[in-house]
Amino acid sequence: MAPTKFDRLSEAEPGERFRIEKLDIEGTMKRRLLDLGFVPGCEVTVLQKSPLGDPTAYKVSNTTIALRIEESSNIYGERIRDDNE
């Protein structure tokens, strides 16, 4: 099934929140991401991009994890735009 109806995590801008729906990644990397809290149903906050544009730091499960675009573009979900923390 093509997860087209969802946004990619890589498209979310710093400051935005993002609810994960699906990880389109296989193998060890997927398991590692799950361990770190990139779990369907969980919320991620986009913190900021590295000075050279990639990787990007995310706040997940109260920790900061940096992902490269190869991974974040395969994490699908929903951008939460109304930022009222």
């Binding site: 060890t28 361990d35 997940v60 499960s61 109260n62 920790t63």
Partner: protein
């Protein structure tokens, strides 16, 4: 193995101050620093408390024990096969949620667990309050708040270790509720697993690992049971063949 020596394993996420605690207990000096993965060689040391000799192993810092990497396999194998007398899971008080995952995984593997919430000083600074008593009740094992680098809470930790060794603490680890479909599958596998491993290994955990297709654990189990497996083999294989 000497008769009066007890084994303690230190498990925890990377960068939770495990090595600091290890250094504090053993008087050894492992390299510590604020970045994940700096403990590259897993270390063991010794200490004595209340006339008991302890051997303490600093397992590699891992995010889980699901055999995604060599480190995780080392940590998992140690807990499952070496059966330490106490496994201390060190948690970072400032990121309790992510850290608890590992604790929950360990609690599925053994009930001889002490959860050690480290970096309490950092948490306090950040205004994070943790209800330790409630946490202990939820998890079903002792929880000790410490600050390893300020050497706070260490006496309580040592006393808790001592009590657990003496059998004075009854633990009742939390059972994680899975989705209905997973629970059904566990129910089907559980009797078969119990038949093969008996009380030697935690059956529910093994059933979960099998469902997850953890071949690395499978290989480790086979290796470990190489000698004892022949007599069980015929019986078990008949049995499971029947059920399939």
């Amino acid at each position: 193995m000497t008769t009066n020596e007890y084994t303690i394993a230190l498990a925890g996420n990377p960068n939770t101050g495990k090595s600091t605690l290890f250094n504090l207990l053993t008087g050894l000096r492992q390299h510590t620093g604020n970045w994940p993965g700096k403990t590259v060689v897993h270390a063991e040391g010794f200490f004595t408390y209340k006339d008991k000799q302890y051997k303490i192993i600093d397992l590699p810092g891992t995010y889980s024990l699901y055999s995604n990497s060599a480190d995780e396999e080392v940590a998992r194998d140690f807990i499952i096969f070496e059966k330490p007398d106490v496994t201390i899971v060190v948690l970072d008080a400032t990121a309790l949620e992510r850290n608890l995952n590992l604790a929950l995984q360990v609690l599925e593997m053994t009930n001889r667990v002490i959860v050690c919430v480290n970096l309490m000083d950092e948490a306090k600074k950040k205004g994070i309050r943790i209800d330790i008593a409630k946490l202990a009740k939820k998890l079903g094992v002792p929880v000790v708040p410490i600050s390893a680098r300020n050497e706070e809470g260490i006496d309580e930790l040592l006393d808790t270790i001592d009590l657990m060794i003496r059998g004075a603490i009854q633990t009742k680890p939390i059972v994680i509720p899975y989705s209905r479909s997973i629970e059904e599958k566990i129910a089907k596998l559980l009797p078969l697993v119990k038949e093969i491993v008996g009380d030697k290994y935690p059956a529910r955990w093994i059933a979960l690992r099998l469902l997850d297709g953890d071949t690395s654990l499978l290989d480790a189990l086979k290796q470990e049971n190489h000698h004892s497996f022949k007599e069980v083999a015929r019986y078990a294989s008949n049995r499971s063949a029947k059920s399939v």
